[in-house]
Amino acid sequence: MTDSLHPPMSAATPKRTLTERLGNELSFVPVAIGLVALFFFFATQSDVFLTSRNLSNLMVQSTVTGIIALGLVFVLLTGEIDLSVAAISGVASVFMAKIVMDFGLPVPLAILAAVALGGLVGALSGRWITLIGVPSFVVTLGVGLVLNGIQLLLLPRTGRYNLMNSGVDKLAATHVTGVLAWGLILGAIAIFALVLGSTWRARQRAGLDASFHGGVLLPVVVVAAFLIGMLMFLENQRGLPMPVILFLALLGIMSYITSETRFGTYLYAIGNNAEAARRAGIKVDRIKIIAFAIAGSMAAFGGILSASRSLGVSVSSGGGVGGGALLLESIAAAVIGGVSLFGGRGMVVGALFGALIIATVSNGLNLMGVANEARLIVTGLLLIIAVSIDRGIEKLARPGS
């Protein structure tokens, strides 16, 4: 390589190794394999596990954690963390219940207001963190406790708002079936194919190497098989549950934002080298504040969904004081899904797989009649294993290994 002034052909550029790809766009593959393995395991342990009724439940169970984790990914990518997401979900759901029950606001408006509140809280935390330069885990820990207190203040003396027949309950109870369900699923597949197809065509026109099979056909077939399979399976039950539709729609939008837009590139750049990003003219603080705002509004939406499912809000909404299991499982979902706590690595889709793994462990062990403490132990061990695998891949992708 020393006399490389006139390289013979550009064809000599090195191909990317599998470990490099696993560190980037295939970062979700190990966790997807793990999920399939868990499915096989529980299918052998319980006759009920693979029934459409149970899998429908399992998916709905994963949506609240999944949506909160989805927003959290944005913050994690920039190398920060938000420990107040569970508290935001709690306070936003109580706020929504209060303005619906006490002030009679229409439900859609109340939901919008609560999501906006979550975004505002996130943005303010982000502003404070970037302005003062304090570590985000301390600030958001404090914000979380403050919000826990406000949540208690917002609740009535009874400590609970009952949302049965309030209109809020419809959000989680709605199932989409028939033509509408097929339209949604096929529309989603079409949009996905359009996005990948336009990339492929642009590359081809620009005279760059473009693989139709690897770049369009394979991913579209995999996603289509997953979505159509899910629909056919759930049609036997009651159709597509609304929380699942919302989660998958948000997942699609957020994936597009992180992987295709300028803002998404900046999240990754800041997470890896904030100083380089700043020198490239990126407004680092502003990007971080937006990331916190997205995490806050996703958390609020997760909380609303949770309230709708449990037909009410109370002291324990948002995981209770400190965030409890909801906070830990949301962070675990993102991390199990391959998102690095040190920033700059991971994909939004990891939140889906991470949340599904956590829900699967919980659901499967329940069916096996295993007690709650075992569930915690298994989830904890899975988290450690997932982070270790991730670390291993990262080390392998470094030069000289």
Binding site: A12, R16, A206, T261, T265, A269, N272, N273, P399
Partner: protein
């Protein structure tokens, strides 16, 4: 003799009571590579920071294309057509070469795509630039974190010339590199000059880098111009003597 595109005339700069530069002059001509050498504390970095707009000189003139300019910040200097590549490269290891080249200046599609980054157009442009610089062997799609030090240095340099500046300032481009990687950077530096750019290189590597890859060597010592050589008719020893102060060195040796 070509007209200089960037000239400093009698520039001085102090930090408190410490005089970092006194009455320093320097010319950069299109198509020429100038090496800036000197011992630690000789004022090399300060001089580059004056040229890149980080520091304002206390006195003296900054001439660009023959006219005096008063620059107050790095962005202004970059807009004028003077790019600086610092030693730390400022690359994002988790992004590939194309993303790093365009970082902060992405080409994007229309609003209804959510300002989607137009990857194909960026990649084609990056490919052209790298080919022009004979850097075809650099992969466009690998993360730069997985690349060698020489390749990373060259990507940082390629990024600085993506928007077609007239002057490139390189701060210690070979400091952390192996001999063969430094040769790759040397090839690139000469390539830049052959495209008509004025290049300034700070380097400590007199024998393996400076003598082979530059046209002129400017020596700074204790914040002053100490000597100026044509790279073709000087030995490494002469340069080093000028850096450390030849007479004193001889005296100490004797």
């Amino acid at each position: 003799m070509t007209e200089p595109i960037l000239s400093l005339r009698g520039v001085s700069k102090s930090f408190g009571s410490i005089k970092a530069l006194s009455n320093v002059s320097l010319d950069l001509e299109p198509g020429k590579v100038v090496a800036l050498v000197g011992d630690n504390g000789a004022g090399k970095s300060t001089l580059v920071k004056v040229m890149s707009g980080v520091h304002r000189p206390d006195s003296g003139q900054y001439l660009f294309e023959g006219r005096e300019v008063h620059v107050s910040n790095p962005a202004e200097v970059a807009d004028m057509g003077v790019q600086t590549v610092y030693q730390d490269l400022a690359l994002c290891d988790n992004l590939d070469a194309v993303q790093n080249l365009f970082l902060g200046r992405e080409l994007t599609g229309p609003w209804y795509t959510g300002f989607r980054v137009t990857r194909a157009a960026s990649e084609r442009r990056a490919k052209e630039v790298l080919r022009r610089l004979r850097l075809d062997s650099i992969s466009l799609t690998r993360n730069v974190g997985a690349m060698s030090g020489g390749q990373r240095q060259n990507i940082a340099i390629a990024r600085s010339i993506l928007w077609e500046p007239k002057v490139v300032l390189l701060d210690e481009p070979t400091a952390a590199l192996s001999h063969s990687a430094a040769e790759q950077v040397g090839d690139l530096v000469r390539e830049l000059a052959s495209h008509g750019l004025a290049v300034l290189v700070i380097s400590h590597d007199i024998h393996h880098f400076v003598l082979d890859n530059t046209d002129r060597i400017e020596v700074l010592r204790l914040g002053r111009n100490a000597a100026s050589f044509n790279s073709g008719d000087v030995t490494g020893e002469q340069v080093v003597n000028a850096m450390v102060g030849g007479n004193e060195a001889v005296n100490m040796a004797g």
